[in-house]
Amino acid sequence: MKVTLNKVFPLDGSVEDAWQILKDIEAVAGCMPGAEITDTIDEHNYKGNVKVKIGPMNVAFHGDITVQDIDAGERQIHLIAKGQDSKGSSSASMDLVARVRESESSASELAGDAGVTVNGKLANFGGRMMTQVSDQILGQFADNFSSKLATSTASGESDEPVAKPEVKQINGLKFAWDALVGWIKSFFSRKA
């Protein structure tokens, strides 16, 4: 089950500030809802987790993140994240190319092309919601990214945005996974 997404999100900060965050893999990972880097093997290889707990649903993926390419000229990174859930019953992978660039409409913009693949139990029972889910995850990633950018760029309103990523991450999780879980659930549930 594979879905491809091409998204562009407006950013408040400058292209240069945005690039400082984008090229920092740990920072980027921090923008992924529920994701964390557990150890750094080298500058191109990391191990990480994505944990999701929503409604009665639990999914925990652990796997590898490989930095295929960091192109300072293009201000573009290419990541591949591959993971299996802790029970070995599902697997997911994401091939993400993200770049920051100038924009007419906003200070700068974040452009992401992602290919998300799910296999196993999740694909059996939740596969057909992947587009919505991936879409929302990527959107949430962008929101968190711009929040981080906002907090990183010194400004008077620094206290407000600080809380922002927190909140957004939680909501992001909820929204993103609600759809998938609700769908999976509707497969099995009859009535509560």
Binding site: K53, I54, G55, P56, M57, N58, V59, K87, S89, K121, F125, R128, M129, Q132, K174, F175, D178, A179, V181, G182, W183, I184, K185, S186, F188, S189, R190, K191, A192
Partner: protein, 289 residues
């Protein structure tokens, strides 16, 4: 398909249940009818550490009338809805719709409160509640509050319920004379979720539409209230052309995921068709034609 281990709690009162929910927070799940949660646990998608079984709380069961309002306990089973003389007389759409849910055995366990609380757009009661303009009583550690159906469903599987809250009652105001209601559900087979379903509550005076509430099942991230479609009808003389316009408005707000039941185009058109049928029946029952 074997559920994982958990600790089991069977509180005898709402207060005890709420206490357990506040104590265990995210690790606790409420067990109502169990026909949503247990299959998910068997698949190991859900692994709550604590199950709070509220089946022993008698106060959550039953259907009564209270200052004109119909009051339904959240743990009232689908079959109790079907067999309720009060509902058959004052709110016949509910027992009729309940007959379209699952199968007889499941309807003995499945509860209206559980169906609503999951905020699953595939469940039937959310749309019915929207069309009936119902109110929900939620009880938590901070006491009791009332939430309108229209404010309750926030996203797929995401409702206004806080983790320490339990839905205790559903309250439905009486329909004024000259009001008719109908629910039409298209499904692949007995026990299936709606491919598309529509509930319509229509009030008429003379041959024109006095009031209208239309809601949809399984056609979006939540049950949908079709206010634009309602606006098309209200204040107008009911004609086939008008019903067509309403159906068209309904189709505009449908955003269903594709699955084995059908693609977006099919489900959207079925949303329109179920709406046509629901409106026509509702009008008949309101005394129109």
């Amino acid at each position: 398909m074997i559920p994982p281990s958990f600790e089991y709690h069977a509180p005898g009162s709402v207060d005890d249940a709420v206490a357990l929910l506040s104590q265990y927070g995210d690790e606790a799940k409420i067990l109502a009818g169990g026909h949503s949660l247990l299959p998910m646990m068997k698949l190991r998608f859900a692994e709550p550490e604590h199950l709070v079984d509220i089946n022993n709380i008698g106060s959550l069961k039953g259907i009564r009338e209270e200052n004109g309002e119909i009051v339904i306990g959240s743990m009232t089973s689908e079959n109790d809805l079907i067999n309720s003389a009060l509902l058959q007389e004052k709110c016949p759409m509910l027992p009729e719709a309940a007959k379209l849910i699952a199968d007889p055995q499941v309807r003995n366990r499945g509860t209206i409160g559980g169906d609503i609380s999951h905020g699953d757009p595939g469940n039937d009661h959310p749309a019915l509640m929207l069309a009936l303009d119902a109110k929900f009583i939620l009880v938590g550690s901070n006491g009791s509050r009332e939430v309108l159906a229209i404010d309750f469903f926030l996203g797929t599987f995401f409702t206004a319920l806080e983790t320490d809250e339990i839905m205790t009652e559903i309250r439905i105001a009486p329909q004024p004379a000259g009001t008719g209601a109908s629910y039409h559900k298209l499904k692949r087979k007995t026990g299936d979720y709606a491919t598309a379903a529509a509930a319509a509550v229509i009030g008429i005076s003379g041959d024109s539409c006095r009031s209208a509430r239309i809601a949809l099942t399984n056609l979006g991230a939540t049950a949908l209230r079709a206010t634009d479609a309602e606006a098309v009808l209200v204040g107008q003389a009911i004609t086939d052309a008008l019903i067509e316009q309403a159906a068209a408005k309904v189709m505009e707000i449908c955003d269903p995921p594709e699955d084995l039941r059908g693609d977006v185009e099919y489900k959207t058109h079925m949303g329109g068709e179920m709406t046509r049928r629901a409106i026509r029946d509702a009008i008949k029952r309101a005394g129109g034609n």
